[in-house]
Symmetry: C2
């Protein structure tokens, strides 16, 4: 069985046209970022409208309830302990966390050889492969050192920004690794973390991502990006990650309009006029809480400054396909395995145990990203299902064939997402156009996780960006009311 938006997590809202509205602030995009802005403004007594193109809220989170109380995360899945803002929002919304299952050994496959290892030592996520670890130690140390030199959220202001933005991550990795093994390991990590390949992004973009994996007190590190314990994969969400958006939208009530893609943002001296499929809105400010390449698909009148437009032409989403296999029980646990796996053979080069908190049923998640997604994204879901199950068999044995259900979610095929998990710039983009990521254009404000100072590309970054914009707009509204 394959999954698409047609059957997942609908809110059932009809597509009838609504009467025009007038609010203080209109927000384009009903993901975590946009809804956080709407919530914060609304809490401050500022009237809002949230316009979402899709027939559901949640953006790049999508939680499919395949059985009562049982959630398959087809999008954003984890939060971690330096992700202060999403953790605070979870508390505020009564959303509960549980630890990512991490007991037992991890599977590592390389060149047809399978081994298992305990995720306990230094760079715990890395397999104890003697041909891999020396390279990995050097690369990780260098990468962390370089990343620490970036001003959070402003990588283009790093002293070495030009040098690091003029080469691909892959160019740098090839210069600083001795074995192709380390290169393959790093590739598999980036394929799944960014949905992209080391050649698609600049070294500076990669360092920006790592620099962001922390908070004001804890500088970002590579380890924290890839780790479970203390890292970005530390906790899962009992109710499903989409609940952040669903609960915020519920509290905002009729202020949220789904199935209503915004087509036009017209700005004048006094305000903004927004046209969407179901409703037109007049407001004082507009927040575009979309990745840059999706924000490009709205018509702006007057046209945006050239730098912003050029940024939107080259700040592209990665390509990630999430595959989940449901089993009667998590049989790998009985074998002393954590369900985690790392392999040099696709389509699913990375796997996790994503069973519910009570461990029933057993669910495996396979990441298919970058080149693997490009290769498999054009083939049938049935072909992909068969291939991913073969990956799982190679990791966990023949019992992995006894699949009860199988879900595929290809984020690049979703017309209102067109990729995932994160958008990034190729070489030259951050140094050439970086400030345009966030610089507002009159009454148009740019949000979305890509604009965050920390954890950009993650749910935490979405909250941070949403809160930053809410603060900016409140200050502007206050100033103009005092005039």
């Amino acid at each position: 069985m394959s999954m698409s938006n047609d059957t997942a997590a609908k809110d059932g809202q009809k597509s009838a046209r609504l009467a025009p509205r007038k609010v203080d602030v209109v927000i384009v995009g009903g993901g975590i970022s946009g809804l956080t802005t709407a919530r914060r403004l609304s809490q401050a007594g500022i009237s809002v409208a949230v316009l979402e193109a899709d027939d559901r809220v949640g953006g790049r989170t999508l939680s499919y309830e395949y059985a009562p109380g049982k959630i398959a995360e087809l999008g954003g899945t984890w939060v971690g302990s330096t992700q202060d803002r999403i953790l605070a929002l979870a508390k505020e919304l009564g959303i509960n966390l549980f630890p990512q299952f991490n007991e037992g050994k991890t599977v590592y496959c390389y060149k047809g050889k399978r081994s298992t290892y305990s995720d306990t030592g230094w760079t715990g996520a890395a397999p104890p492969d003697l041909l891999l670890l020396p390279d990995l130690a050097i690369v990780t140390t260098l990468i962390n050192q370089m990343a620490s030199r970036l001003p959070p959220g402003e990588p283009w202001n790093a002293p070495e920004a030009e040098e690091w933005d003029r080469q691909t991550l892959e160019t740098w990795l090839r210069r600083h690794t001795l074995s192709t093994r380390a290169l393959k390991f790093a590739s598999a990590a980036f394929e799944t973390i960014l949905g992209t390949e080391g050649r698609d992004i600049s070294l500076l973009s990669a360092l920006h991502h790592i620099n962001g994996a922390g908070n004001a007190q804890n500088p970002g590190t590579f380890d924290r990006v890839i780790e479970t314990r203390g890292g970005a994969q530390e906790f899962r969400i009992v109710e499903g990650a989409q609940q952040f958006s669903i609960r915020m939208a519920a509290a905002l009530g009729e202020s949220v309009v789904t199935s209503s893609p915004v087509r036009l943002i017209r700005q004048s001296e006094d305000g903004v006029h927004i046209e969407s499929d179901r409703v037109d809105v007049e407001a004082l400010h507009v927040v575009v809480a979309l990745p840059p390449s999706m924000a490009a698909r709205i018509t702006y009148e007057p046209g945006l400054p050239a730098a912003r437009d050029q940024l939107m032409q080259r700040y592209a989403l990665g390509w990630l396909i999430k595959c989940e296999a449901v089993y009667d029980k998590p049989f790998w646990r009985e074998q002393g395995l954590s369900g985690g796996a790392l392999s040099d053979v696709g389509p699913a080069k990375l796997a996790y145990d994503v069973s519910p908190p009570d461990g029933s049923p057993g669910v495996l998640l396979g990441f298919v990203g970058g080149d693997e997604a490009r290769r498999w994204g054009s083939r049938s879901h049935e072909d992909l299902r068969v291939a991913v199950i073969e990956n799982f068999v190679s990791f966990f044995g023949p019992k992995a064939r006894e699949v009860r259900d199988f879900y595929i979610h290809d984020w690049a095929s979703e017309v209102w997402n067109r990729g995932g998990p994160i958008a990034f710039g190729g070489p030259g983009t951050l140094t050439g156009y970086g400030p345009a990521l966030r610089d507002s254009v009159g009454r148009i404000h740019w949000s979305g996780t890509e604009t965050a100072d920390f954890w950009h590309g993650f749910m935490d970054g979405a909250v941070r960006a949403g809160e930053r914009v809410a603060i900016d707009i409140r200050a502007q509204l206050k100033r103009s009311s005092q005039k």
Copy 2:
């Protein structure tokens, strides 16, 4: 004085809504590529409609008649002798060529030192700088050798495609040059040729551009891209480059609708339904003759395949600003200078004499591209004018201050162009998504100069792409009528 579309080359067509139409083929984009397709189909008795967003035809050509019979080329300017298809079209349309003025010496400025040289020797466009030529000889030889290994129009099928697409052009240049001088020279060339920097594009993208600078009989070379004699800057157009489009549009009459941006392309089994601001059209096929990043701004129903969408998110236009200074006469000619200049100091690092055929008045063209465009594009036109005139003074002496008129055209600020002269992919784009550049999606065909086998990014490529699509569609219409 600065120039914008508001005052340039209008066709005066009003913006009234027109009655819906039904034609065989609808073409989106009234540049050379789209109009060539329309012309060829129309000549074969196939009915067409051409929908152009702007209030003029011509795409990335724009000829401003600043005095009766006197043309300033604010966009595409030159054609060259291996550009068979645009040359044939010129003949067909009664458009006349004249040689680019190339008598006298070229000016070369580096590190504050000005020298002049005769454009006669090997790589004639290169200055005889002893610290530059050895590097340039090696780099040019290697680049030409590598470029010759690309299958025309299909760089992703080259044996070394992966290796060449995973590094930036700048990474490769730094490895193969001894002095920074060669790097600066190459940067100035690419800034103006592609409107971009060596770090923005992959080595494969650059090789693709060079491989395309030829035809089936003459393999592309770097020299032909940068040369005047026998190269891409060989001839100018007496009537102005925009005349290609204006004359083709005139012949097509009411089939061409300007000021009518296409918003929606809906495809069904039987045909396509197109919605544009002034007219809706039903057709059997649609040709999108736009650069990929502009094609992304149309809504497609059903959504496009993921690979095509992802391509459009990362195939960005360069940034080029063209500046033209009009003088009473071409005073530099009296000094034995050709009007050509190359400098390491911007904003205008490259200059040409673009006076009319009769040499009166004298006109200088300054290219402001890549980083220079990013730097100056956000400043006032007055600041840019002053700075470019200072460039011209440093090239040709104080008489360059006696400017009669000055025109600035910033292609990235034009809402229906958003950059120039060409769109290109960063590292990973051609190998990851290349075939999606041209692969039609059912009844949707992709055209525009970027899809050409030769001279992509040039007017000749636009004609080639337009003719290719016309042939494809004729074959398909013939097949379906035989069913």
